[in-house]
Amino acid sequence: MRNAKSPEPLEKYLKEVTNHLVGLPENEAMEIIAELRSHVLDRVSDDLNHVGIERALELLGNPREVARLNMTVHVATRAVDKNSPLVIIHTIARLARLSFKGLIILMTSLVGYSFAASWLLAALAKPFVPDRVGLWSLADPTGDLSLSLGRKDATVAGQDILGFWIIPIGLAVGLCAAYITYRFDRWSIRQMAKQRAHSGSPNI
């Protein structure tokens, strides 16, 4: 949607924004660019010269930050109404590349899902390898507990605390942890969409 009147500095700015809209569907990226172009042309309608354009671009903000803010809001709002855990995880991973806050959310999410997965795997593996899977109390003077999967050395010296109870307990704890992490991810995405969109500053 390039305009014949569109001046060179504006196109250079928009190209830089486009370069930072990596991964956004083409139609969404084009829409953002078209709107920014329209905005600048409106801003300089009475003053279409080099200085006017530079001033309008300055008011719009750093192209990288403008792209990042748009990316965050577009990526987050697209996932807000989605229920698929895969879409939610994919969105969190994308947000992690856009901001430090997104990275923290991703790390928290990974801890949550790893915790859930270890309990679920322990519960599912117990019937097949009962001697190697369990919640082992290690023969350690400090009395540390270890949720061990396939660790022969731990089982030799330790005691299986839960026995076959790890199956229902592991399933319950694992599913609860996965659900809580999923809800946390959805809440975080919603908050990021809202906060970024309402931030009032591209630098926040």
Partner: protein, 131 residues
């Protein structure tokens, strides 16, 4: 042990103002569309001239996108006399009813806060009366 009392800094005030803006900006943008459809720059100008709100220009479109995704505004590209197309935003029925609802809450909140802050005004008036 007494806690050290410090005067509120400009930073404290700026933080408080930023929080207030975050909460009110969405409502302000929706309210700017109550009288009809506007394009981005017109919304910014209305926020500034009527509402006294200066919004960094690059932030208005992500906010409008979020409001659109939420179903509160609708948009349409229109060819303009200026020679380039403009994207006009207008309130949807859901957006209008949302503005009405949060405007009521906002007014109640502001009225309550004003009542709580009334002693400040009374003190100010009392000071003025003292010759």
């Amino acid at each position: 042990m007494k806690a050290a009392i410090t005067e509120p800094s400009d930073e404290d005030f700026a933080k408080w103002e930023a929080q207030l803006r975050k909460g009110g900006l969405g409502l302000a943008v929706l309210a700017s569309l109550l009288e009809g459809s506007l394009y981005g720059l017109e919304i910014l100008r209305k926020l500034e001239s009527v509402g006294g709100l200066t919004v960094p220009e690059g932030t208005i479109y992500p906010l409008l996108h979020r409001l659109k995704t939420a179903g509160f505004v609708d948009s349409q590209w229109v060819e303009s006399e200026a020679g380039h197309p403009r994207k006009y935003y207008r309130l949807t029925a859901a957006g209008r009813s949302y503005v009405r609802e949060i405007a009521g809450t906002w007014r109640e909140f502001a009225a309550g806060l004003n009542r709580l802050l009334a002693p400040l005004e009374e003190k100010k008036n009392a000071k003025r009366k003292i010759p």
